[in-house]
């Protein structure tokens, strides 16, 4: 990838956060008796990268699904550029919010180029009759779509694999393709659900550069992630979700230093430091367990059949 790395200090000088793109107010999502997301407010302004972190099961993906119309929030509303979002996911995309999925959901048996072309669906109009009659408008629109899709593939660095089946790409490239497909719908806000899950450090670094490049093109980004280093490097603002509620929101440094965040992730320290007695007790228990396992293992093998 050839995009220059925009680091934190340049980000501060980059176009100041402008108008509010996404405005979620009091979003609550209940599944029967379970409240997965409770009264969460979140705003994203244009030209901003906002991170959403939280331990497993905190409700991050549920909140994401509320934003993208896959779920309809039980309470609260989500506004995109001052318009309340329609409750259908394809209308949300048409409005200007595109997303990727936590577990990659490409169209596995379509080519890389076709995947991106599908992303162009909302920005093109040619219907069935146009396809059958093939007037000049059809060819023009098709050529424009292909050109735009090729540009996007170049942008994410997959141009040389345009004719490969999506299923045959390596994992990191599938992630990139998912981003390219989402960008094809020309979104004002891009939602990334764990974009670096399962990536090695180099790939994570590349993903970081890609997201900066997307931001520099004027698209706001909201990203869910577990990788703390990644998120604190990347984001202008970070919100922490714990047990369905927003714990804190602020710039990375504030969030990083907040005790409640550490507590939510690692657990609270015991009230008194563990004394020697407790430590010895734990060690003894471990030793006993090991010994038991060793004696069990040998006869266990024979009975295995």
């Amino acid at each position: 990838m050839t995009t220059d790395t925009t680091t934190k200090d340049t980000a501060a000088g980059a176009p100041a956060p402008g108008d509010t793109v996404l405005d979620a107010r009091g979003v609550t999502m209940r599944f029967g008796g379970l409240t997965a997301v409770r009264d969460v407010d979140l705003t994203v302004r244009s030209g901003e990268i906002v991170g959403l972190i939280g331990p497993n099961g905190a409700g991050k993906t549920t909140f994401f699904n509320c934003l993208t119309g896959l779920y309809i929030p039980t309470e609260g509303e989500v506004r995109y550029k001052d318009k309340v979002l329609p409750p259908k996911s394809f209308k949300v995309t048409a409005a200007g919010i595109a997303r990727t999925f936590q577990n990659i959901r490409l169209f596995a048996n379509m080519t890389v180029l076709e995947n991106v072309l599908v992303g162009r669906h909302t920005r093109t109009k040619e219907g069935f009759w146009s396809a059958v009659l093939r007037g000049p408008g059809f060819h023009k629109a098709e050529a424009a779509s292909r050109e735009r899709a090729t540009e996007l593939l170049e942008f994410v660095g997959l141009a040389d694999k345009a004719d490969h089946l999506a299923r045959n790409l390596p994992y990191g490239e599938q992630r990139k393709l998912e981003i390219a497909r989402a960008l094809a719908s020309e979104p004002g806000l891009l939602l990334l659900d764990e974009p670096t899950a399962g990536m090695n450090p180099q790939e994570t670094r590349a993903a970081e550069e890609l997201i900066f490049a997307i931001r520099d093109q004027g698209t706001a980004v909201l990203v869910i992630e577990h990788d703390m280093r990644f998120i604190f490097n990347l984001c202008d603002r970070v919100a922490v979700l714990v047990q369905g509620q927003k714990l804190i929101e602020g710039d990375p440094a504030t969030v990083q230093g907040d005790e409640r965040v550490i507590a939510a992730y690692i657990g609270e320290p015991m009230e008194n430091d563990p004394g020697a007695a407790e430590a010895a007790e734990v060690e003894a228990a471990e030793a006993a367990a090991e010994a038991e396992a060793a004696t069990d293992a040998a006869p266990g093998k024979e009975n295995d059949r």
Binding site: T68, L70, K88, S89, F90, T93, A94, A98, R99, F101, R105, L106, F107, A108, N109, M110, T111, L113, E114, L117, V118, G119, R120, H121, T122, T124, E126, G127, F128, S130, A131, V132, R134, F138, A141, E142, S145, D163, H164, L165, R167, N168, R181, A182, S185
Partner: protein
């Protein structure tokens, strides 16, 4: 995706033993025997195989091959050519771009099976081996020798997987069986063909013409086979011959060349199909032709719904029925309560529109369902159509469709003063009633092919495939899933209705019993789906060939009788086990089902 390193990479390193064949004959001897035996088989077809003409086809004549002898002659000639090509004879190199050995094995196997089938059929039919003339013995021996010789040709054996010493006896047995099966497959495998040279485009077009002419000859021969034995022999020879050509790499070359001239190929295919009635002397086989064409066209329409959009529709034949009934009601038939007689273009519009409305009415509530539920509901609607038509007879309901008697004596069409019901003489050829309808049906097929090709390779077609692949992701990409699916459903229904309008006139009568879910005669919903799956989902040629086979096999093999559906089911099970992507696979699906294939995973041309 895990790429597995298989034996092919390890076998390159100098192995301890040189590659050997399945049979312990030295390779040069085997090659000579295979080639010579095939040549001898060709010669033997000019001899008499039996003394009496009681066996159909008259195999008693010296110097003039007849019936099954022709098939053996073709197989033997093919095997001889591959044998010579394997020697590297100058001028035959084009025959085997992927190596001639595997092709030789298939060709000799095909010749052997055909010849022995013939010899055994003679013996069984006429009661004993005494009925064979020396020619019969000669062909049996020659083809057996050729097969043994071909099996002695060397091939790269796969490395056996190491044993797990803890394995039980049964696990060891399956392990060995698996290895033996892999070895057998390797024996018949071939390398990947070298890329086809860039030829001048007029040469390539000539090649396409030759291919289409060959296809026409094969089809005409198959449809014209007069007795069971000949049709079985035809299926054997055609099947093995196709495999041999496939292994030799010729099919790959042909598809590369046709892919470069897609429009010419499609137009040429229609011209070739239009030539079919001119090859016939009477209307007997044109009848089969027009029924096959109706069946194939409806299957192709179903392929939009099933193959592209991935909507499993088990009641598709109802749309054919709606089109047929609509056309019949306005055809001026005496049993139609309306008593109107529309011209053909208006009848076609009425039929297509009725199917469209019916399709939208059924699709709107059902397409909110996914997967199995959709299949069940469409199955139900298919039956509802038939039962409703059965009951609107004036006693159980309003008098519209004349109940189970159907609408009878539908008059023949007259288009621009051309009466399709009578025989015409065109340039010395006699074109009968069914041949007339064959031409009309071909026009409808062309419309369906056009719609399929163009809509498949467009924004809407990509949306269909995306919905099939992952509906949630497609919705998140801004595709209005319900709308797009409804379009697919409606287009499929309209095309079926279009075919139905012609079908009503061809069959004179429409009755509810023509539009069952499953029956012994196509078209019915089960056979339509089978034709799509058998031929290859998402392709154009697939359903056409699938429909032709599914129509011809029950039609020709009358001796199967009550076992027809059983045989059909068995054949489908075997096909799904060994070739799940269908006979004419979509490139996409082939890659999907055969990940181990080391073909470069690149789609050169999108769509079907």
């Amino acid at each position: 995706m895990t790429t597995q390193t298989t034996a092919s990479s390890t076998a390159v390193t100098p192995a301890a033993t040189p590659p050997t064949g399945l049979i312990g004959i030295p390779a040069p001897v085997g090659r000579a025997v295979a080639t010579g035996g095939s040549a001898l088989a060709v010669v033997s077809t000019f001899l008499a195989w039996t003394w009496t003409s009681a066996f159909p086809g008259d195999l008693t004549v010296y110097g003039y091959p007849g019936g099954l002898q022709v098939l053996v002659l073709v197989g033997g000639a093919l095997a001889t050519l591959f044998g010579l090509a394997s020697y590297g004879v100058k001028g035959l190199g084009w025959l085997a771009p992927a190596g001639a050995d595997a092709a030789l094995k298939y060709a000799t196997l095909g010749t052997f099976v055909t010849a022995w089938y013939t010899v055994l059929a003679i013996s069984f039919d006429l009661g004993g081996l005494v009925n064979l003339e020396p020619g019969g013995y000669l062909v049996a021996a020659a083809t057996l020798l050729a097969l043994l010789g071909a099996l002695a040709l060397p091939f790269e054996r796969p490395e056996p997987d190491p044993f797990d010493p803890d394995d039980t006896g049964w696990a060891r047995f399956t392990h060995e069986a698996g290895h033996r099966w892999a070895t057998l497959r390797a024996a018949f495998a071939s390398g990947s063909p070298r890329p086809v040279r860039a030829l001048p485009s007029h040469v390539e077009i000539l090649i396409i013409v030759a291919i289409l002419a060959l296809a026409l000859v094969v089809f005409t021969y198959g449809i014209g086979t007069g007795y069971d034995e000949l049709f079985v022999g035809f299926l054997i020879t055609a099947g093995f011959g196709f495999s041999a050509l496939n292994r030799s790499g010729l099919i790959a070359h042909a598809s590369q060349i046709t892919a470069r001239h897609q429009n010419i190929t499609v137009c040429g295919a229609f011209v070739a199909a239009a030539c079919f009635p001119f090859t016939q002397t009477d209307d007997q086989y044109a009848t089969l032709g027009v029924y096959i064409l109706i069946f194939a066209t409806v299957a192709l329409g179903l392929n939009i719904v099933v193959g592209l959009a991935g909507l499993l529709d088990l009641g598709y034949v109802a749309f054919l029925g709606v089109g047929a009934y609509a056309a019949a009601l306005v055809s001026g038939s005496p049993s139609s309560p309306f008593g109107v007689h529309f011209p053909f273009w208006a009848a076609v519009l009425v039929g297509a529109l009725a199917s469209l409305v019916f399709g939208v009415l059924i699709g709107a509530p059902t397409l909110r369902l996914r997967g199995d539920y959709l299949a069940i509901v469409t199955l139900g609607f298919g039956e509802i159509f038939r039962i409703a038509v059965n009951n609107t007879d004036g006693t159980s309901g309003p008098d519209i469709t004349n109940g189970s008697n159907g609408i009878a004596s539908i008059p023949d069409l007259k288009i621009l003063g051309f009466d399709l019901g009578v025989q015409h003489d065109i340039a010395g050829f006699t074109i009968g009633r069914f041949a007339n309808y064959f031409f009309l049906m071909l026009l409808i097929t062309a419309v369906v092919v056009l719609v399929f090709r163009r809509s498949g390779d467009s924004r809407i077609g990509r949306a269909w495939v995306a919905i099939r692949e992952d509906e949630t992701a497609a919705l998140a990409m801004g595709i209005n899933g319900f709308r797009v699916k409804l379009i697919a459903f409606a287009v499929g229904a309209t095309l079926a209705g279009l075919a139905g309008t012609v079908q009503a006139h061809v069959t004179y009568t429409v009755t509810p019993e023509q539009y069952l879910f499953a029956g012994t005669t196509p078209p019915n919903s089960a056979f339509l789906l089978a034709a799509v799956v058998l031929g290859g989902m998402g392709t154009i040629a697939g359903p056409l060939i699938g429909a032709a086979l599914l129509f011809l096999i029950p039609n020709k093999l009358q001796f199967l009788g009550d076992f027809q559906l059983l045989a059909f089911g068995l054949a489908l099970v075997l096909l799904m086990r060994f070739r799940p992507e269908g006979l004419i696979p979509n490139r996409r699906r082939q890659l999907e089902f055969h990940e181990e294939a080391d073909a470069p995973a690149v789609l050169s041309k999108t769509g079907a």
